[in-house]
């Protein structure tokens, strides 16, 4: 099951490939979402990306109650539409294939480099005419360092601009993770060895580096792990960018009311970014849009988080601008300046 295991990396577990994305790097892009994430941020908008294994989802509002799923399941695992007994389910996905309305869906499918490239290739002209490209997202792409590097290499050979979005955690011991109680060992893929992850990242033109909470304890509380390695990685990548011409590092932060937008957190990150000479930050506003997905996966609803107001957003901007950080809305970054320089 551990798709992170290098030997099984002929395919990467991908839960979605989306075209016409405008927020994750410059121009028109396709996003390849890898499945599996070492963090468990409480506000996560893509909970289907958490587990590095294929999963079943159920979109209740699409179900027509035809009961096809019940009749095709070889294990008798489906009690009634949408009610699946996970201990019986063997993940054969006969039900998702048969569901006529698209209510039962499969998250995660192992895809080969060739398959992904075939899906992306027809989009190349759109990238070229808009200064866009491909972004690896997730989940965490560095969970599949060999595979992702292989795919990245083939895209680079095609002359495609490549961005990688990462949570920054690409070397951690799974045991420490499970100790936090948020993630069980079964769920967690092995995180990448720094060298393989490093190789993957050097292939990228742009690294979208997600930062969340500055204080290690707060990070553990809201994201499930300590953030020391993330901080180290950020510093390492910044160094590489400045010294050896490594990929452009672009930090991004989700603005979660009352969690990431506290003055201490903003100031902490702001000073670090300034110190690392990464004086730019994309602020990704919080939405409640991930909640529906939790329902699809039959997960507990996330904690109640307030809606982001214009006022608090302005406050956030003020704090960061004061420290000398230029802030951007997703998709509104001034990429050209960095790309041409």
């Amino acid at each position: 099951m551990a798709s992170g295991n290098p030997k099984q990396e002929a395919a990467g577990l991908v839960f979605s490939i989306q075209h016409f994305c405008l927020q994750d790097g410059p121009g028109i892009r396709s996003l390849v979402f890898f499945k599996g994430c070492p963090l468990r941020c409480v506000w996560c908008q893509n909970p289907e990306s958490w587990k590095p294994i294929p999963e079943l989802g159920f979109k209740k509002h699409l179900c027509t109650n035809c009961r096809t799923c019940i009749s095709v399941c070889p294990e008798g695992a489906i009690v009634s539409p949408g009610q699946i007994r996970s201990e019986k389910c063997r993940q054969c996905f006969a039900c998702t294939d048969a569901c006529p309305s698209g209510a039962l869906i499969r998250f995660g499918k192992p895809l080969s480099v060739k398959e992904i490239r075939e899906e992306l290739m027809p989009e190349y002209p759109f990238y070229q005419n808009s200064g866009g490209g491909v972004t690896f997202s997730g989940g965490e792409p560095t969970l599949y360092p060999e595979f992702a590097a292989h795919l990245a290499g083939s895209l680079k050979r095609d002359g495609i601009h490549l961005a990688i979005e990462t949570c920054g955690l690409f070397h951690a011991d799974p045991d420490t993770l499970s100790a936090s109680g948020t993630i069980t060992k079964k769920d967690t893929a092995q995180t990448a060895h720094p060298e393989t992850a490093g190789r993957l990242l050097t292939l990228a033109d742009l690294v979208l580096f997600d930062i969340k909470l500055f204080h290690p304890e707060a990070h553990r509380q809201f994201c499930g792990t300590d953030n020391r390695m993330i901080l180290d990685n950020l510093a390492m990548l910044a160094r590489r960018y400045h010294q050896k011409g490594g990929p452009l590092i672009w930090p991004r932060m989700p603005v979660i009311p009352g969690i990431t937008d506290t003055p201490e957190n903003l100031e902490g990150w702001g000073s670090l970014l300034a110190e690392l000479r990464l004086n730019r930050l994309t602020l990704v506003p919080f939405h409640h849009l991930g909640e529906a997905k939790r329902e699809w996966l039959q997960l507990e609803p996330g904690p109640c988080i307030h809606t982001l107001t214009g006022e608090s957003m302005e406050k956030t901007l003020r704090v960061l601008t004061k420290i000398g950080i230029s802030c951007f809305a997703p998709g509104e970054e001034d990429w050209p300046e960095y790309i041409s320089s």
């Binding site: 989306q18 075209h19 016409f20 994305c21 405008l22 927020q23 994750d24 121009g27 028109i28 996003l31 908008q45 979109k59 509002h61 027509t64 035809c66 096809t68 006529p100 309305s101 698209g102 027809p122 989009e123 002209p125 759109f126 070229q128 005419n129 808009s130 200064g131 866009g132 990704v284 506003p285 939405h287 409640h288 849009l289 991930g290 909640e291 529906a292 329902e295 982001l308 214009g310 957003m313 809305a329 997703p330 998709g331 509104e332």
Partner: protein, 823 residues
């Protein structure tokens, strides 16, 4: 100048022009805001001045004398009478004058066309979706006018004849096709370059000389019809001149009214001066150029009917005058933009009038008075200029449903212009639409135009095509229900539901039991299409005959190349390029259905054709899961899958070939167009279940768009599918609509993305595209009525999704967000 210098100059011009088309010009001036306010404050109405004058004319001394006149002369005299006798009206603040009707915003009434159908709504005029305000005496007058014109409508004259009754019914039922030409031909891009720069004195002189010498310009002696033609030209020009003079007189009178401000007096006197000069003489200034176009446009509207009367490439036509005025410092960029905005607001004075029954075929499409900008000259050199941007800026000031704006795009289209055009799309008015020079020119040359003339194309109305000033294109002659032909093909020419009056509607094709292969099905489909097209062409032929006698169009003929050389009205085949165009609805539905038949019956062998026919006749009642599967899981057109798109190509080819095979009675070609106004809704109601899962009565796919909900991979995949189709036969173009929520395509990134979408689509062979940017209200409508609003792309937390795929709670959040402009 050598090439290098040329390039340097172009680069400099481009640099200089970027700041010139900025937001500074896009905020309405006080004058423009005031005119717009007045227009919107006046309720929509119906103007009866035209029919009353036309009905009065035969009773006047002149009319009585002319009873035995040639039909061309008779018509010209009536039109001249109408133009001279109608009341001129000038409204506050406007810089371009000339009233379209007797009211501020009203529909003209065309008794000889289809206007009579408004009587169907007589008792609920105010309660219609688009209310019409009439006083009680006006209503009585409406009934009188309507009844007086009852038997003089073109449709009545053409079809209420022995032996044509079945066609009359077919025509009225509008199931297989809907013949729009009954209402009028309209749809023209006159030769406004010549109108502006030569004036109507030019055709007047030609007509004069021909009459004097009694010979055509090439020396051939005139026959009786040709004499009448040249007379009709001269008579009509006199009428237009009188109309212009009446306006000038009124302007002057108003200028000297007590209390008139000095500034307004100067403006009125300038208008008076302009109207004494144009359109008869060549325009001397930018303002006169637009004034000239406007008066001829009003004449065109009075003569035929309002639909699709377009101006052509105004950026090219007016450039010399604009430059001259700038040099002489008589205008500035700002004042020119204001004049242009005032001109564009004039187009909002008119609207179409249909009964609500007819409205389901054409609702919301307005009149579509097209302005085309950008593109190339005869030799393929870019002609985009400062006016191209100015026209967009002027529109940004007004943001109204008229005029229609069309942007031509080619490889050398300057980026500042594309940027400005896309910024205009972001305003959310669905304008401009974009056309690929490459694809359009290829199709027009295939339809018989010279390359030079094809390169001078301008858009008629919404998407239709003409080489400006050289074409008579009955560009919206009829709309065609393609999926219905598949229904008929599977059922021996009989509709599934109720039996057609008189039995069989279509051709007698063989029963499904005898169809052994997919090719047999395709053949039956082809036969049904050909049969329906032939029937339709027959009816259109009768209408054409009737037009020649009862509704010739001298104004149109004086602005269309060929007529004055041949001594023939456009309705008599005078135009250099003569075309009749038929538009198709339900193309993607037909393509997907062919694919589904092939898969289900002949490849997967899950059903026999007979079983499938039964499933369709019973509207999937006993097979809901199959219907779901077809709708949600089956491959469909619009996802960039070549195998499926090929079936849509097959359907398009069967339709196009059936159309192209015919000639109209003027000797012109038939050409196909791939768009459907809102006909796909009305046709859908009359069409049974389709093999692609679409239920009975549901609306059909429109234009080149995928069937409702069939596109699952976003706009790039839709564009890939659309671009992969061969458009060379579609000389009347196609329409592809993309829909986004505002947030998805806002800001710089959105602008760049849209420009990237369009240029890629065109570089891959695409022909036409337009993007609608929806506001919160439209999204609300989509949430409440998902079936009516498929395919809206919205941004959800960083990626794009289809609105109808989202859970209601998420939809609400997106609506909230759009309403409040939150990120």
């Amino acid at each position: 100048m050598n090439a290098q210098q040329n390039q340097a100059l172009a680069a400099r011009m481009e640099e200089e022009q970027i700041p010139e088309t900025g937001p500074a010009y896009r905020e309405p001036t006080d004058r423009i805001a005031a005119i717009k306010g007045d227009l919107f404050a006046s309720p929509c109405s119906l103007c009866l001045e035209r029919p009353i004058l036309l009905q009065r004319f035969p009773k006047t001394a002149q009319g009585r004398l002319g009873k035995k006149d040639h039909p061309l002369v008779k018509r010209a005299k009536a039109l001249a009478f109408l133009m001279s006798e109608r009341q001129p009206r000038i409204y506050d603040n406007e810089l371009i004058i000339g009233n379209m009707t007797s009211k501020r915003t009203a529909a003209n009434y065309y008794p000889e066309g289809g206007s009579i159908n408004i009587l169907e709504d007589l008792f609920r005029l105010e309660k219609r979706q688009i209310p019409i305000n009439l006083t009680f005496p006006e209503k009585i007058e409406l009934v009188r006018v309507g009844l007086a014109g009852l038997f003089s409508s073109i449709g009545g004259r053409a079809l209420l004849k022995p032996g044509r009754f079945v066609h009359f019914l077919d025509f009225f039922r509008a199931k297989r096709y809907f013949i729009t030409e009954e209402a009028g031909i309209g749809h023209q891009v006159g030769g406004y370059y010549n109108v502006v720069h030569q004036g109507l004195q030019h055709p007047d002189q030609i007509a004069g000389t021909c009459l004097e010498t009694n010979a055509l310009p090439d020396g051939t002696p005139l026959n009786r019809d040709q004499v009448a033609f040249y007379q009709s030209i001269r008579i009509t020009i006199r009428g237009i001149r009188t109309m212009a003079t009446n306006l000038a007189d009124l302007a002057e009178k108003m200028a000297y009214q007590p209390g008139m401000s000095d500034k307004r007096r100067q403006e009125l006197l300038a208008s008076a001066d302009a109207c004494r000069h144009v359109p008869y003489y060549p325009a001397r200034t930018f303002l006169e150029g637009l004034q000239s176009c406007w008066i001829v446009h009003v004449a065109m509207n009075l003569e035929d009917f309002e639909q699709g009367m377009s101006f052509g490439r105004l950026d090219r036509i007016l450039l010399p005058l604009y430059q001259k005025d700038l040099e002489q410092k008589s205008i500035t960029r700002e004042t020119a933009t204001e004049i242009m905005a005032s001109f564009q607001l004039k187009t909002c004075e008119t609207l179409p009038v249909y009964s609500e029954r007819i409205d389901q075929y054409f609702s919301g499409n307005g009149v579509a008075q097209g302005i085309t900008i950008g593109g190339t000259d005869e030799n393929g050199n870019d002609t985009t200029n400062e006016l191209s941007g100015l026209i967009l800026d002027a529109y940004a000031q007004i943001r109204t449903r008229e005029p229609a704006l069309h942007v031509r795009v080619h490889e050398k289209t300057p980026s500042w212009f594309l940027d400005n055009a896309v910024a205009t799309v972001q305003l959310g008015c669905g304008k401009p639409s974009f056309f690929s020079d490459k694809a359009v020119v290829a199709a027009l040359t295939q339809a018989g135009m010279s390359t030079e003339h094809a390169r001078d194309f301008a858009v008629i109305g919404c998407v239709e095509m003409a080489s400006q000033g050289r074409t008579y294109n009955s560009s919206d002659a009829a709309l065609f229900n393609l999926p219905l032909c598949l229904e008929l093909a599977l059922n021996q020419g009989i509709c599934y539901g109720r039996r057609h009056f008189g039995g069989r509607m279509g051709a007698m094709t063989r029963p499904v039991e005898q169809m052994q292969s997919f090719e047999d099905v395709a053949d039956a489909f082809r036969i049904q299409v050909e049969h329906a097209v032939a029937e339709m062409v027959k009816v259109i032929g009768w209408l054409e005959e009737t037009y020649r006698i009862w509704r010739p169009t001298p104004v149109n003929s004086m602005v269309t190349e060929g007529c004055l050389a041949k001594g023939r009205d456009v309705t008599w085949g005078g135009a250099l390029y003569d075309l009749t165009s038929i538009q198709v609805a339900g193309l993607a539905d037909a393509g997907d259905s062919l694919y589904a038949i092939k898969q289900l019956v002949f490849e997967q062998k899950r059903f026999t054709l007979k079983e499938l026919l039964h499933i369709l006749k019973t509207d999937y009642r006993d097979h809901p899961a199959l219907q779901q599967e077809l709708l949600h899981q089956f491959p469909r057109y619009g996802n960039g899958i070549p195998d499926i798109d090929r079936m849509t190509q097959l359907a398009a080819d069967i339709f196009s070939d059936a159309i192209i095979a015919h000639r109209n009675s003027r000797g012109g070609r038939y050409i196909p167009g791939i768009y459907s106004m809102t006909c796909h809704i009305a046709f859908g109601r009359l069409t049974g279940a389709l093999p692609n899962g679409r239920g009975s009565g549901k609306r059909l796919s429109n234009g080149l768009s995928p069937a409702d909900g069939a596109d699952r991979k976003g706009p790039t995949a839709v564009l890939r599918s659309a671009a992969s189709l061969d458009s060379r036969k579609w000389a009347n173009c196609c329409a592809l609509n993309l829909k986004f929520d505002r947030k998805t395509v806002s800001g710089n990134a959105g602008r760049k993305a849209l420009a990237g979408l369009f240029t890629t689509y065109f570089s891959q062979g695409g022909m036409q595209v337009q993007a609608n940017v929806l506001d919160a209200e439209m999204l609300r409508a989509a949430r409440n009525n998902p079936a009516e609003h498929p395919g809206i792309v919205v941004r959800v937390a960083g990626y794009c999704a289809y609105f109808h795929d989202l859970q209601p709670s998420v939809q609400d959040e997106i609506i909230e967000r759009t309403a409040h402009g939150l990120g």
